[in-house]
Subunit: 191 residues, 4 copies
């Protein structure tokens, strides 16, 4: 199966998701500072979601770079990951337009958690196909970052119903953790 077409399709979906989110930043009515300020909460959500989609694209790029084969199962694991991320424009807009109300903040976190699980399943499907001793398997290793992310999501989601800014801080923390580029795969590929 051709890896390049999977990458091309995924790149297309990543590109559309990342660009379409900004369409949810509706043009404000007025032209004064007040109008600009009203866009701020949606803008901050957009920044966070842009970071997340960027991180996933980056990791996806590294993951497939270290892979050699693509099977039907891998295609579908990839489609499920893209499905979770394709909900980002919806969850971002709902959270941003409602001043970070509890339920939208929790649902945003649930979307992140679902994407995290889907990414985990994708890595496992790839490792199952490439073998435990493949470059891919060694480079992913024990995946402490992925595990920590899911723990943080699981903690941050219920916090939305107490103080929603704690949840948002949790989501931002995970993003910052991932922004430190994933040296694991790079290291192994060049080893």
């Amino acid at each position: 199966m051709s890896k390049s077409r999977l990458e091309a399709f995924s790149d297309g979906v990543f590109a559309v998701i990342i660009t379409i989110m900004v369409l949810d930043m509706k043009v404000p009515r007025g032209t004064d500072l007040q109008a600009l300020k009203s866009v701020l909460p949606v803008f901050l959500c957009y920044v966070l979601s842009y970071l997340y989609v960027g991180i996933y694209w980056n990791n996806h790029h590294h993951l497939l770079h270290a892979s050699q084969h693509v099977t039907g199962g891998i295609l579908w694991a990839n489609l499920i990951l893209l499905f979770c991320l394709s909900l980002a424009p919806f969850t971002t807009a709902w959270m941003g337009e409602n001043d970070y109300a509890p339920l939208p903040v929790a649902i945003y976190g649930a979307m992140l958690l679902a994407a995290g699980i889907a990414y985990f399943v994708l890595t496992r499907t790839l490792i199952a196909h490439h073998g435990d001793k493949s470059v891919l398997a060694r480079s992913i290793g024990n995946d402490w970052k992925g595990r920590t992310s899911m723990l943080l999501y699981a903690f941050a989601i219920p916090m939305a119903f107490i103080k929603s800014w704690i949840s948002c801080a949790g989501y931002a923390l995970v993003a910052i953790m991932w922004l430190l580029p994933d040296r694991r795969i790079e290291k192994q590929v060049h080893a």
Copy 2:
């Protein structure tokens, strides 16, 4: 003619269709469970349509992988298939926003049937060009899945005017049938 550009263009269209559909999931007014529930019917339609576009992309991927040449006729057969699928955001939204009313459900099925016929025409055009004894022709075989799908659509569409959930179950059944990956082409390619 270059197969790679046909694939790139098709991937672009598939990626945009699949991502744009979620734009029809309008952000609900409130922030309580009731508001979230109101999105549910559109969300379920979105899942179904996502599955269908994913299935078509997957099968399209296999089909072109087994092809060697692209002609003007194949380009247009492909464009007609993409046209049918490009109506998915419209039919999905109409069905989802109207609580699965009879006519929208039937039109959704008609769109699926049209896409099924267009895919059938595309496979026939490809076989006509590659010959009856090509890897492609042998791998498609008698295409029982394609034929069964069209029979199921033809049965499910009129059912919309009696009980629309029967139609939806029919559409979902076809999707599940296709989710079992198409081993036919894979088998022949590696034979």
Copy 3:
């Protein structure tokens, strides 16, 4: 300069234009036949515009296939063509939502004429770079189809202010003329 990236970018723009147009087909209010009928004029416009974008993509595909080099001038001639086509979602929606009123129909034709001129400029820029005796130049030849199209547009546009259906028939006629695939380049490439 790399031809492949010009193709990839153009394919992306073509794919987005063709898919985004359907977003202008707003979901009708009701769920009866009357509601479906109200979508018909926009749907027919969508079909026509889809055909045109498909034709341009097809011809663009052949044109670049026969080209070897890409220069800064060619990049910009290509961007101007894509600009004209990117107006299609706007002109299509304006025409379709206003029952083919004279001015929108004329503006739709003006967009087609502008795209036709831009495509002509692109072919001339490519020929200027590849030489009069190149495969490209011989395969384009006297370009009677391009010239006839522009004459037909020039005739059809003012007709919008007398009988707008005559204009639409003219636009459809040009599309049908082009749907017969452009054998000129194919013939020369294989000669």
Copy 4:
């Protein structure tokens, strides 16, 4: 790391940004000349933004053509540039729909300035990786065009609060300056 996937993803984002902006040109209510005129200010903004995205795509094309390696840092510098440009549909619409009011015009310029800085950072990151004596470094040279652009932005942005047409003239001037294609890299590559 694979350069081709960075290009494919960037092309996707460029293609979506450039096409989605036209969606902000809302179809006018009437069908007379007055209605068409009402679209004019948004249309002119669209032309300007299209030119800018086209210029960035063109320069990005040349820049990566002269690059050999891609690192995590380069991926993120590229994502930041794309982020700035992805705000173009928002700033374009806000400026166009408000008759070039001071604040929207200034914000539009701020977006251009941010994109200019991001592009500058991207070139520095690339040079840092390729070395001062690389083809890339020599071809960028002292980057007088980039520096002049930022000076012009810095001058044009505050002018929005005095006479907004001066700002717009400044933005247009920078675009015209860049439309003269960047011969620097082309020259060095072929030297």
